[in-house]
Structures are given as structure tokens and as C-alpha cells.
Symmetry: C2
Subunit: 246 residues, 2 copies
Amino acid sequence: MNPLDATRLSHALQVDEVCATCGSRVAGMCKPMDPASLDEIAAESERVTLPARSIVFREGDNASRVFSLINGIAKLTRLLPDGKQQVVGFRFPGDVLGYTGRREYPFDAELLTGATLCRLDRPKMDKLLTRYPALERRLLDLCVQELTATQEQLVTVGRRPAEARVAAFLVSLVEARRRRGKVERLLEMPMTRADIADFLGLTLETVSRSFTAFRKRGWLREPEHQKVELLDLAAISALADGTNEN
Amino acid sequence: MNPLDATRLSHALQVDEVCATCGSRVAGMCKPMDPASLDEIAAESERVTLPARSIVFREGDNASRVFSLINGIAKLTRLLPDGKQQVVGFRFPGDVLGYTGRREYPFDAELLTGATLCRLDRPKMDKLLTRYPALERRLLDLCVQELTATQEQLVTVGRRPAEARVAAFLVSLVEARRRRGKVERLLEMPMTRADIADFLGLTLETVSRSFTAFRKRGWLREPEHQKVELLDLAAISALADGTNEN
DNA sequence: CGGCGTTTTGAGTGCTTTCAAGACCGGTGG
DNA sequence: CCACCGGTCTTGAAAGCACTCAAAACGCCG
């Protein structure tokens, strides 16, 4: 089976599994909705499938749509005047993209993998929020969660040495996977060293050196492209927390 | 008029001005509410006044209350295992403190100045949110705004050199003041060098050196304790953006 | 097989930190 | 009223960690 077929197959399974009505089985935006409401939401929304590296929207675009990521992984980035970029977060299945109080999106959203998304026009979204208080509450909860995660990231970037940041990133991957109820030993990691560096406020060389160091210590393996296996999560967590000796 | 009297006077004015019913004239949580609803909210909430350096709540405390800052300035901090702290944000009049999806507060909230707050029990808060959709929407908007601000801060901490971070901090002070509709030349800045350093992911010495440099360039003055006057906001903004020559 | 993007590794530089000491300021008690 | 004290701020010198620049190895895709 070549990679393309594998992708198509897993994609088909995902669609059958979660999104006939926008995701009744995932932990996404629509989690608390009953079947009847889901039907209405499904009627208002469109499902779109995009290949890896697609731009979902760009910083400064009119924020006229809201997306719910059904499957696939996205990165959110802000561009600085000097050309450097900062990754403000990665998004996983179940996460909402592009809901903002502003008229324009405050960051780019780019797919790291092929992905399926639910797309809603902003006015329709606002109507739905008014009509279904549970939906609005859910969105508020997701927003608060995201805020807490971003604050956590601020601590990581602001106060931890390079290797601890990389360790924290790996731990966050594990947690994102656990939230989605998966338990495979092999983690999907479609981000490049540069992506990770831009997330952690480091250079790609420093990230590479950290991975090399972890590998030499027997903490992890990368048996195939864009996959990691964490062999000593305890050690990695300890380094991330700064709970190591020294 | 001595400084103490000035403080008392402005404090009295603030209370008269904004909080008979929890803040009809401020840009706070209750901004979109009509007078009748405000009465009910006021009935459910208590107003408390606390001196500078009070702890409003601590990381790990049961998140049983939500606060709205009426006047005064607070800092939110997370403590790391190694004893260092990261300031995740400062809060100004109109901001909400302690609304979280978790059972426990994810950070400490400490007052930098004397302050007046609206205090609401969490169950009452939840009832109000259900009863007044406009209130819930407002909270969602505030949350999204905060999220965007925190992402902005992530860019600052992750990708900018020391002086640019300090410059960005000063710009954010100006913007916080503008949101509150004030236009005084003299900014209130009750945070110490250490607070600023913990916010920007720097050491207090580096922050001090940056202030000294700005002073020498004629960009700012500190005519009295805990006050700054920005003499060349354009230059400061340019440095913050990285829009300077070099 | 060749080309291109990603990753790795090395060497040297530099910015920020660390460590240290002194100055400043406000509050307090003699 | 003034001296003292603690906390904050400033300044200097040295060290260290991550960055920059550079080149080679790797792996994927056409």
C-alpha cells in the first residue's frame, strides 16, 4: 500500500466515523449538541478537504469564516516585520480555527497534513451561538482552555532553557494525543525542526541538537519520517518541568 | 495636595463613576447589560476593596469565585518548580480575573496597587451566564481578546531581543490606558523591574539596562516613582516592531 | 540518477545572564 | 529632624548558552 492510498483510506474512515453531522464522536465544538441540533448545524456548514501545506486563512484576511478541524494538524503563525515567524500554536482534531472577536484573523493557519474541516460562515455561526446556548458555552470553554495552554507556552518560552522547551513540546504532543483518546506508541509529528523552533522561540539548529541529545540518551527514536516514539517519557517530563537534579 | 490625598480622591471618583451596579460606564464584563439586569447582577455580587500586594487568589486554589477588576492593577503569575516565576499578564480596570474552565486557578493573582473588585461566586456566575446570553457573549469576546493578547506576548518573548521586549511592554501599557479612555501624559507603572522581567522572560538587570538606555536616548522620563512619561513613542514602537534601521 | 529541502554537526561570536557591589529611595524609630 | 534599614534600582565585569554562519549528510520526489 503506498502512502497516498493509506492517507485516503484513513481519511475515509475518519469521515465515516465523525463527521456526518460535524463530529458527534469527537471532542470538538459540537460535543455537547444533541442529534437534532447537529443536523441543523450540519445543514449550515460545509465540509472541505485540503492537502498538506494549504493555507486555511492568512493573518489580515477578513475573518468571515470559522473552522472546526475534523482531522489533520495545523499550525498557527504570526509573521514579524523582520521576516521571522512565531508559531503561536498547533491545532489538532476537534480544535476550532479562526473564531476571533476581530474583523481580521490575527494569524495564518496552515495545514501540516492533509485535513478535513467543517467550514461555517461567521454570520451563520453567530446565529447558531444565539440559538444554542450549549454551543456558545462550549466555545467559551474551548477558548479558556486555549488561553491556559497559551499561558503555559509563555512560561515555557520565557523561562526554560532550550532542551527543556523541546521536552515540553514533546510532552504537549503526548497530551494532545491523549485528549483525542489515542494511545499509540508512535506519535505523529508532521512539524519540521523549523516549525518546532518557531514555536519554542529557538533556532532550528538548537532544536536539532536537542533531538540528537535525547536520541543519544535513549529517550526517543524516530523510526520513520514524521513519527516519534518516546522511550523515556518520565525523563523527558522531568527535564520539561525542571525537576531534574543539577 | 499630597500624593495620598490624590489617591483617595481619584479612588472615590472611580467608585462613584463606575460601580454602583458593577460598572455601567466601564468596558468591563457588564458593558452590554441593561440597567435592570445590572441590578440583578449587582445583587448577586459583592464589592471588595483590597490594599496593594494582596493576593486575590493563588494557583491551585479552588476556583470558586470570579472577579471583575473595577480599579487598580493586578499581575498574574505562574510559579515554576525551580522557583522562578513567569508573569502571564497584567490586568487593568474592566478585566475579568479567575474565570477558568478548570476546578483550580491556573495562576496567582496579586494586586500591584490598591484595588476594588466585584466578586461573584462561581455557581451564581454560571446562573447569570445562562440567564443573560449577552453576558456570556461578552465573556467569550473578552476571552478571545485575552487569547490574542497572550499570543502577541508569545511573539514578543519568543522572537525579540531584550530592548524590543521592553519597548513592546511600554507600548502595551499605552494601549491598555487608551482602552480605558485615558490620555494622561504620565503613565501609571506600578510594576517593579523584576515584575517586568518576569513578564518579558528577561532578568531584572537587563530590564534596568534597557530603561537606562531609553532614558539616555531621550525616549522616556520617570519623573516620579512608578510613573513613566514616554517622550518618543514613535521610536519606542519602531524598536518594538523591529521596524528600525539596522 | 539528480536536485532540493530538511537535518545534522561544527566552530566562533555575541547577547543575555550571573555574580557582585554600590547608589537610591521611602519608611521607621530614635 | 536625622540616621538607619530594607527593598529596589543601577552599573560593571565575566561567563555561558543559544545564535549565526557554514558545510556536509540525508532522504524524498521527480
